[in-house]
C-alpha cells in the first residue's frame, strides 16, 4: 500500500526520491531517450550510410516511407507476429501454470525446470530448431511422418505462412515458461478457500475456472500482455537468424525491415523515419493499455 510513510515529513520525500531515482532513471534516459532524439534528427535528413551526413529533407523520408507498400506490409506482418505469439504463448503458459498449480509428485522440480527453454541464448534456440527442422538429420519430419501426420518431409520455412507459423511456435516454445511462472504466481495468490467454497456449492472444474481463476488472473494477465506485446513487437534476433524476413517477405516484421533499410539498402534516413513511426505507435499502444492497468494499482 503506497500510503504516507511514518518516519519522515512530506518535504523530505522529494529530495530522497531524487537521490534514489537519479541513477536508474538517468541511465534509462541516457540509453533510450538520447538515441531516440538522435534517431528523430536522422529521420529528418537524407542520410544514406551511417555516419555520413546528408542534406535536410524535412518530412520527405516520412512521406516516402508511409507511401510505400513495404512499410504497411511489414506492419501487417508485425501484427500477425504479435497476435500469434500472444495467443500461442497464453495457451501454452496458462496450461503449464494450471498444471504446475496442482499438487502431484515432482511438482516442485517441475516448477523449477519448466524454465529450461527460457534460459538458453537465442543463438542456441536457433541452432536447436534449425537442426530439428532440417531434412538432413532433423527429428521433426521423421517423427511427423511416423505419427502419420504428413507423408513426405515438409519445408517448415518453405513459404511465408509456413515460416511465420514455425517462427511463432519456436518463439513461443522459448518464452512460454517465463509467462507460465508469472501466471503461476498470480494463481498462487488466489486463496484456496474460494475454490473449496465453490466446490462445496457444486461447481465443476471448468465452472470454477470461469468464475474464479479467469477473473482473478486478469491483473497479472494484463501486465503480461502489455509487456509481452511490446517485447514481441521488437523481437529481432530470432527472426533475423532463422529466416531473415523471408521467404518472399513473409516474416518481414517492422524491426527486420528497419534493419534491412538501414544496413542493406543503406538508407539510414528512411530507417530512422520508420523507427520513429513504430515507436510512436508502440508508445501510444502501451499508454492506452497501461491506463487500464494503473487505476487498479493505486486504488488500494
Amino acid at each position: 500500500m503506497a500510503s504516507k510513510p511514518i518516519s519522515s515529513g512530506r518535504g523530505g520525500d522529494g529530495r530522497i526520491a531524487f537521490l534514489l531515482l537519479v541513477v536508474p532513471l538517468g541511465l534509462l534516459a541516457a540509453t533510450l531517450i538520447v538515441p531516440m532524439v538522435s534517431a528523430i534528427t536522422i529521420s529528418l535528413r537524407d542520410i544514406r550510410v551511417i555516419g555520413s551526413d546528408g542534406p535536410f529533407a524535412g518530412l520527405d523520408n516520412y512521406a516516402r516511407v508511409l507511401g510505400d507498400g513495404t512499410f504497411w506490409h511489414a506492419l501487417g506482418i508485425s501484427v500477425v507476429w504479435v497476435v500469434g505469439n500472444a495467443v500461442v504463448q497464453t495457451i501454452l503458459a496458462l496450461t503449464a501454470a494450471l498444471v504446475l498449480n496442482e499438487k502431484f509428485p515432482g511438482v516442485r522440480v517441475a516448477r523449477v525446470w519448466i524454465i529450461l527453454t527460457w534460459i538458453i541464448p537465442t543463438v542456441v534456440v536457433v541452432i536447436i530448431w534449425r537442426w530439428l527442422l532440417s531434412p538432413s538429420g532433423g527429428m521433426v519430419n521423421p517423427l511427423l511422418i511416423q505419427l502419420g501426420i504428413i507423408d513426405r518431409p515438409m519445408g517448415f520455412f518453405a513459404s511465408g505462412p509456413a515460416a511465420m507459423t514455425s517462427l511463432i511456435l519456436i518463439n513461443s516454445w522459448r518464452w512460454f515458461p517465463f509467462v507460465a511462472i508469472m501466471l503461476l504466481a498470480g494463481l498462487q495468490r488466489i486463496p484456496n478457500d474460494i475454490y473449496e467454497a465453490a466446490a462445496v456449492d457444486g461447481a465443476g472444474a471448468i465452472a470454477r475456472f470461469r468464475a474464479i481463476t479467469w477473473p482473478l488472473l486478469q491483473p497479472t494477465l494484463l501486465v503480461l500482455t502489455v509487456m509481452g506485446t511490446l517485447l514481441s513487437f521488437n523481437v529481432f534476433d530470432i527472426i533475423w537468424l532463422l529466416t531473415a524476413g523471408g521467404p518472399a517477405g513473409g516474416t518481414e516484421t517492422l524491426p527486420v525491415l528497419i534493419y534491412e533499410t538501414a544496413f542493406k539498402a543503406y538508407r539510414m534516413g528512411d530507417a530512422a523515419a520508420m523507427s520513429v513511426v513504430a515507436s510512436v505507435l508502440m508508445i501510444g499502444l502501451a499508454l492506452v493499455l497501461l491506463d487500464r492497468l494503473a487505476p487498479k494499482e493505486t486504488a488500494r
Binding site: S136, G137, P153, G155, G246, A248, A262, K264
Partner: protein, 427 residues
C-alpha cells in the same frame, strides 16, 4: 664529480632516446570474415611468422561475421576505429568506398603484378573510376558437384546442357533423394546460384555500357523460368538454405548434386571422404550456348588506414601473403575453397602439398579450370558499375527468384519488378 655525473646522465639519456625510434611499433589491425576456427588459426600462423620477421610491425586479426559486418564497418568508420586492412568482395568494396575516402592502390597492385602476375579477371572488379581500390587475394567460383556413383547407378552422364540437367534431376529425384539442391533464400548464396544460371544463358550483363539497367531482358526471364523448373527437384526446405545447408544435404547424400564453391572440407569430414566418388564439373549451359560459365568472386584486401606508416606496414603484410611459399598456406586455410589469383601462386609448392589438396587433386584442378570462365554481376564486360553495391546488399536477384518459385509469379513480371527495384535501390 659533478661533471662526470652530468656526462653519465647525458650518455644515459642519449642511449635511451636514441634507442626509442627502434622500439616504435606500427599496429596493423585486420578484419576478415573467415571465422571458422581452423581458418583463424591458419591466418594467425602467418601473422606470427610475419611479426617475427618484422619486429617493427605488429599485425593482429579480428574475425567478423558477414551478418554483422555490413553494419559494423560503416559504424566503425564513422566512429574513427575502423580496421587498417579489411578483406572484402567487389560489391562490398563499392559500399566502403562510398562510406569513406579510399586511396587508390593502383601503383602497389602494379608492383605486385610485375612480381606475381595477377589473373586479369581478378583485378577487374576493383578497377574503376580511375583507380584500383583493393588488392586481389583469393578467388572462389561456383561449380557443379555430384555423386559419381549415384549418377552412374542411374545411368546418367554428367550434364553439360540445361535439358540434360533437367532430365538428370528428374531421374534422380526419388526415394527421398533430391536430384539437384538449389536454394531459394533471400540471401547471397541464392544470388550466386541464380546468377550462375543466368550467366549460362548469356544473361550475364546487368548493365548497359552507359550504366542503365538491362536486367529485364528475355534471356534473364528464360533463366528464371528454367530455375523454376529445376527447383521442383530441390529440397523442401531450400527456401531457407545458405551454403551450409546445401553442403550438409550433399554430404548426407540426400542431394545427388548441388551448386557450390567447394564441398571438399565437409565432404571429407562428414560425407565419407571417398575422393573417387566426388565429381565436379562446370555449371551446365543453356542448350543454345556454346560454353559454360560461372560466377566468380575475387576476394581482396582494402587498405583503410590513412596514416602513412600504417599503410606501408599494411602493404608489406599483403606482399608477404602473396609470396608463393606463404600464399599456398594462406589459400589452404580452407583447402580446395580458395583459389590463387596469381599465376605464380597457382604453381606454389605449399598450395599443392596440402594433404587435402593432394587427396582431391583432380577436383582442385577442375575447379581452377572452371574459374577461368568466371564472371561477377555488376563487374562484367570490362565495366564496373558501383551502383551494384545496394543491388547486391539487398539480394534483389534472390528476391526476384523467391517471387517466381515461392510466390508463383510469372517470371516476366517478376523480372520486370526486379528491375524496378534495382533502379530504386541505385537512386
Amino acid at each position: 664529480m659533478r661533471f662526470k655525473g652530468h656526462a653519465l646522465a647525458g650518455a644515459l639519456a642519449l642511449t635511451v632516446f636514441g634507442a626509442l625510434p627502434a622500439l616504435a611499433v606500427t599496429d596493423v589491425k585486420i578484419w576478415h570474415m573467415e571465422q571458422p576456427p581452423h581458418r583463424v588459426q591458419r591466418v594467425q600462423e602467418l601473422i606470427d611468422a610475419f611479426n617475427a620477421a618484422n619486429p617493427d610491425i605488429k599485425v593482429s586479426q579480428e574475425p567478423q561475421s558477414w551478418g554483422e559486418v555490413y553494419a559494423k564497418v560503416p559504424a566503425a568508420m564513422a566512429a574513427g576505429n575502423a580496421p587498417d586492412i579489411l578483406f572484402a568482395i567487389p560489391d562490398f568494396t563499392t559500399v566502403i568506398r562510398k562510406a569513406g575516402q579510399l586511396d587508390s592502390v593502383a601503383d602497389f597492385v602494379k608492383e605486385l603484378d610485375a612480381q606475381h602476375h595477377f589473373i586479369p579477371a581478378t583485378v577487374e572488379p576493383y578497377s574503376y573510376d580511375g583507380g584500383v581500390w583493393a588488392v586481389p587475394l583469393y578467388n572462389m567460383s561456383l561449380n557443379f558437384w555430384y555423386h559419381k556413383k549415384m549418377f552412374a547407378d542411374a545411368g546418367i552422364a554428367v550434364p553439360t546442357t540445361w535439358s540434360e540437367w533437367k532430365a538428370a534431376a528428374e531421374k534422380l529425384s526419388k526415394d527421398g533423394v533430391v536430384g539437384v539442391g538449389l536454394p531459394a533464400n533471400k540471401q547471397l548464396y541464392t544470388d550466386q546460384t541464380t546468377y550462375a544460371v543466368m550467366v549460362n544463358n548469356g544473361a550475364s550483363e546487368l548493365f548497359n555500357a552507359d550504366g542503365t539497367l538491362r536486367f529485364d531482358n528475355p534471356k534473364t526471364v528464360e533463366s528464371y523460368a528454367f530455375y523454376k523448373d529445376l527447383y521442383k527437384f530441390s529440397s523442401p526446405d531450400a527456401a531457407n538454405w545458405t551454403w551450409g545447408e546445401a553442403e550438409a544435404c550433399f554430404a548426407s547424400e540426400t542431394c545427388a548434386s548441388i551448386l557450390q564453391f567447394s564441398v571438399i572440407s565437409t565432404y571429407d569430414q562428414q560425407g565419407g571422404g571417398d575422393a573417387a566418388d566426388l565429381g565436379v564439373a562446370a555449371v551446365p549451359h543453356a542448350d543454345g550456348e556454346k560454353n559454360s560459365s560461372t560466377i566468380a568472386y575475387s576476394n581482396a584486401a582494402i587498405i583503410l588506414a590513412k596514416d602513412a606508416a600504417k599503410r606501408d606496414a599494411a602493404k608489406k603484410f599483403i606482399a608477404f601473403l602473396l609470396e608463393p611459399e606463404n600464399y599456398g598456406k594462406f589459400l589452404n586455410m580452407e583447402p580446395g575453397l580458395f583459389l590463387p589469383v596469381t599465376t605464380d601462386g597457382a604453381k606454389s609448392e605449399t598450395f599443392w602439398s596440402d594433404p587435402l589438396v593432394v587427396k582431391y587433386k583432380p577436383q582442385v584442378e577442375q575447379m581452377i579450370a572452371n574459374s577461368h570462365a568466371g564472371m561477377l554481376f555488376g563487374f562484367t564486360g570490362g565495366h564496373v558499375f558501383p551502383a551494384i553495391g545496394p543491388i547486391s546488399a539487398q539480394n534483389i536477384l534472390a528476391e526476384t527468384l523467391q517471387k517466381v518459385v515461392i510466390s508463383g509469379e510469372d517470371p516476366a513480371a517478376a523480372v520486370k519488378a526486379g528491375q524496378a527495384q534495382m533502379i530504386e535501390a541505385t537512386k
